[in-house]
Amino acid sequence: MKHTTLAAACLLATASLAQAQISDGVVKLGVLTDMSGAYSDPAGQGTVVATRMAVEDFIAAEKPAFKVEMVSADHQNKPDIASAKAREWIERENVDALTELVTTSVALNVMKLAKEKNRIALISGAASTRVTNEDCNDVTVHWTYDTYALANGTASAVVKAGGKKWFFLTADYAFGHSLEQDASNVVKASGGTVVGAARHPFPGSDFSSFLLRAQASGADVIGLANAGADSINSVKQAAEFGIQKKQSLAGLLLNLTDVHALGLRNAQGMYLTEGFYWDMNDKTRDWSRRFFAQHKRMPTMIQAGQYSAVMHYLRAVKATGTDDTAKVMAQMKKTPVNDFFATNGKIREDGRMVHDMYLMKVKAPDQSKTPWDYYEVVQTIPAAQAFQPLSASRCPLVARK
C-alpha cells in the first residue's frame, strides 16, 4: 500500500516536473502560411488542417502530460507581415515553434527571427537551398523539399530520356534564379547543354514572347524555372503556340494542385519531382483519405510534410520532457523520421531533412481512372542522391574535414 502511494506520488511529481520544464505548460505551434495568394492551394489552409490532424493524432496516441495548442495566420507571401506576426506570436503568445513558412522571403526572415528569439522554425513549403546553405542556422529544419532536389530529379531524368538541349523560362527573382542555376548544373553534369534562358517578370501573365524565343532556340526541352500561376500559364500558352509538337516542357516546381488546375490535357507527359504522392502505398492512401475528408482535396507534399514535421517535433518534446529549443532540436536530429511521409528520413546538421524523392510523369487523360489520379511514379530517388551532399554545403554549421 505504502509503495503504491509512494509510486503514485513519484509519478505525479515527475509528471508535474515535466510540466514545469515546458514553459507555461503549453506547447504552442504557430502555422504561418499563404492562405490567399499564389501558394494557397499547394500550402495554405491545407497545412492548417494537416497541423490540426497531427496535434489531434499526437494527443490521442501519446497522451502527453502537457497541453498542445496551435495558432495560424496568413502571411500573404509578404515577409513583413510574416515577421510582424511571428514576432507578436513570440512576444505575446509564447509560441514555441514557427512552422510551414512557404515562400522563400518569408522563410528566410522568420528563420532569422527564430534564431534571435531562440525558437524553432520548421519549414515545409519554402524552396530555396539558401535555408540550408548561406542562411542556415541551428534552430531551423528544412523538411519537405528544396530547389536542388527538384532540379536534380527532374533535370537528370529528362536529360536521360533524350532531352539534351535546354532553354530556361525563369521567373526573374531569387527563387527562379536558384532553380535555373541548380537545374543548369544538373543538365550539364548529365551531359546536356543549356542553349539559352529568358527571364520573365514575376509575377508574369503573358509568356508568349518568351515562349517564342524558346521556340526559336532549337532546344529540345523548355525548363520552367517558375512556380504556381506562372507555371500554369506558361504551360497553357505553350500549348497555344503548338510548342509541345517539337519541344517538351519540364516543370521544375509543379505541385499536385497546379496539375489539377492545368488539367491533364495540358499537363500530360510532363516530368516533375515530388516529395510525396497520395496514391503510392496503403499508408499514404489512408492518411490522404483522412486529409481529403477534411480538406476536400488530396494533399500536396507541402501539406503532408507539414504533418510529418509537426508530429516529429511533438514527439521530440515528449521524449525530452521540455520545449527548450536546443534540447528538442538535438532530439529531433537524433531520431530518424519514419512515417507515411518519409522512410528513414534524417535531419542533417545543416537542418536539411533528407528523405526519398520521387520522379513523376503526368498521366494522359485516358490513363487517369479516378479523380486526382494524376501521376505515374517513374522512379524513386533515394535520399542520399536526392539532396545536395554535405560536402558541397555552404553552411557554416557543417564541420569541414
Binding site: 492562405m35 496568413d74 509578404k78 507581415i81 505575446r92 522563400t104 528566410l108 514575376f202
Partner: protein
C-alpha cells in the same frame, strides 16, 4: 477641406502636452510593437496630410518615399554601420531628394493628372526596388539591427525602441505643425483654396507646391526609416502602391486637413487590420475597401472632422 481650428497657441500647447503624456504611458497599457507601428504610420499620414489636407494635392505614390527611405536606413545601419538616429535623418533627406525629383515632374499637372503621374513615377521606384540587388529584391533588406542610439542606448529592447519612435514622431509632428502655422503654411492654404487668386497676388505657386511636396516626402521617409528599424526589415510592401492607397485611407478616415486626423486614422486602420487579421482573415481587403467607400460617401470629413462638426453644432445650439 477644412483647416485646423487649433491655431491658437494655448490650445496647441495643451494638445502637445496631452499627446506626450499619452505617449509616455501607452507602452505600459498596450503592446509596444503595435504602438510603434501606429506611430510610424501616424507620422506617415501626418506628412501625407500636409500635402493633401493643407496643400490640396493628392499623391497616389507616397509609398515611394516611405519605402525608399526604409531601404536607405536599413542599408546604412546594417551595411555601413551608422547609428540609428543618423541613419533616420539621412534616409529622410534621401526621400526628400526623391520627392524633389518626382515633385518637379508631377507639379506640371494638377488635380487628377497629378495623382496619376505620382502613381506612375512611384511604380518606377517600385521596379527599382524589385530589381536592384542591394534591396534584397523580394526577400527584402533583412536582419536590420536596431543599433545603439547616439552610440550609447541599446534599442533592441521594446521599451527603449518605443521611446525613440515616440520621440521621432513628436519631432516630425511638431515640424508639420510649425510648417502649417507659418507664413509658408498660409500661402499653401491660399493656393489650395483658390489657386488663380494666389497667382494673381504674385505668389510663386510652383515653388510652394514643390516645397511642400519635398517636405512631405522627407517626413514620410523619416516614418519609413523608423519603421524599418522597428521591424528590422525593409521590403517591397513598403514601396507598393497599395501602401500609397492605405495612407490615403488613413488620412481620409481620420479627417483631412485636421491636426489629429492622421493620428486617429492611422490608429484606426492599423488597429482594424490587426484585429481583423485574427478573426476575418483574408476578408480584410474587402473590409478596408468597404471602409473606403463608406468614408468617401458618408463620412468625408473623417472621424476627427465629424467629431469637430458635432462639437461645433452642440456649442451653437
Amino acid at each position: 477641406m477644412a483647416s485646423s481650428s487649433f491655431a491658437s497657441g494655448a490650445r496647441s500647447r495643451w494638445l502637445f502636452a496631452a499627446l506626450i503624456a499619452v505617449g509616455i504611458v501607452a507602452p505600459f497599457i498596450g503592446y509596444p510593437t503595435f504602438l510603434m507601428k501606429v506611430l510610424c504610420f501616424a507620422l506617415f499620414a501626418s506628412a501625407f496630410n500636409l500635402l493633401l489636407g493643407y496643400g490640396g494635392l493628392l499623391s497616389f505614390g507616397h509609398a515611394a518615399f516611405f519605402g525608399s527611405a526604409a531601404y536607405v536606413c536599413g542599408w546604412l545601419v546594417r551595411d555601413v554601420g551608422l547609428t540609428p538616429e543618423l541613419a533616420v535623418l539621412a534616409a529622410g533627406a534621401a526621400a526628400g531628394l526623391l520627392g524633389l525629383v518626382i515633385g518637379a515632374l508631377a507639379i506640371r499637372r494638377s488635380g487628377i493628372y497629378f495623382a496619376m503621374v505620382t502613381l506612375a513615377l512611384a511604380q518606377v521606384v517600385y521596379f527599382a526596388a524589385l530589381n536592384l540587388p542591394v534591396t534584397g529584391r523580394e526577400d527584402g533588406l533583412q536582419g536590420i539591427p536596431r543599433g545603439h542610439l547616439l552610440g550609447v542606448v541599446d534599442l533592441e529592447g521594446s521599451l527603449a525602441m518605443y521611446y525613440f519612435v515616440l520621440g521621432v514622431f513628436l519631432a516630425g509632428f511638431w515640424a508639420i505643425h510649425r510648417a502649417i502655422h507659418s507664413p509658408f503654411g498660409q500661402v499653401l492654404a491660399a493656393i489650395r483654396d483658390n489657386e488663380p487668386r494666389a497667382v494673381s497676388l504674385g505668389y510663386d505657386v510652383g515653388r510652394t507646391k514643390l516645397l511642400v511636396f519635398t517636405l512631405s516626402a522627407a517626413l514620410s521617409g523619416v516614418a519609413g526609416a523608423v519603421k524599418a528599424l522597428v521591424f528590422q526589415l525593409a521590403s517591397l510592401t513598403d514601396v507598393h502602391w497599395h501602401l500609397s492607397g492605405e495612407v490615403v485611407l488613413m488620412t481620409l478616415l481620420g479627417g483631412m486637413g485636421t491636426v489629429l486626423g492622421p493620428l486617429v486614422g492611422a490608429f484606426a486602420v492599423v488597429g482594424l487590420e490587426s484585429e481583423l487579421a485574427g478573426t476575418v482573415g483574408p476578408w480584410v481587403t474587402v473590409v478596408i475597401g468597404g471602409v473606403f467607400i463608406a468614408c468617401v460617401l458618408l463620412f468625408q470629413r473623417g472621424i476627427v472632422g465629424e467629431a469637430r462638426a458635432w462639437w461645433l453644432r452642440r456649442r451653437a445650439a
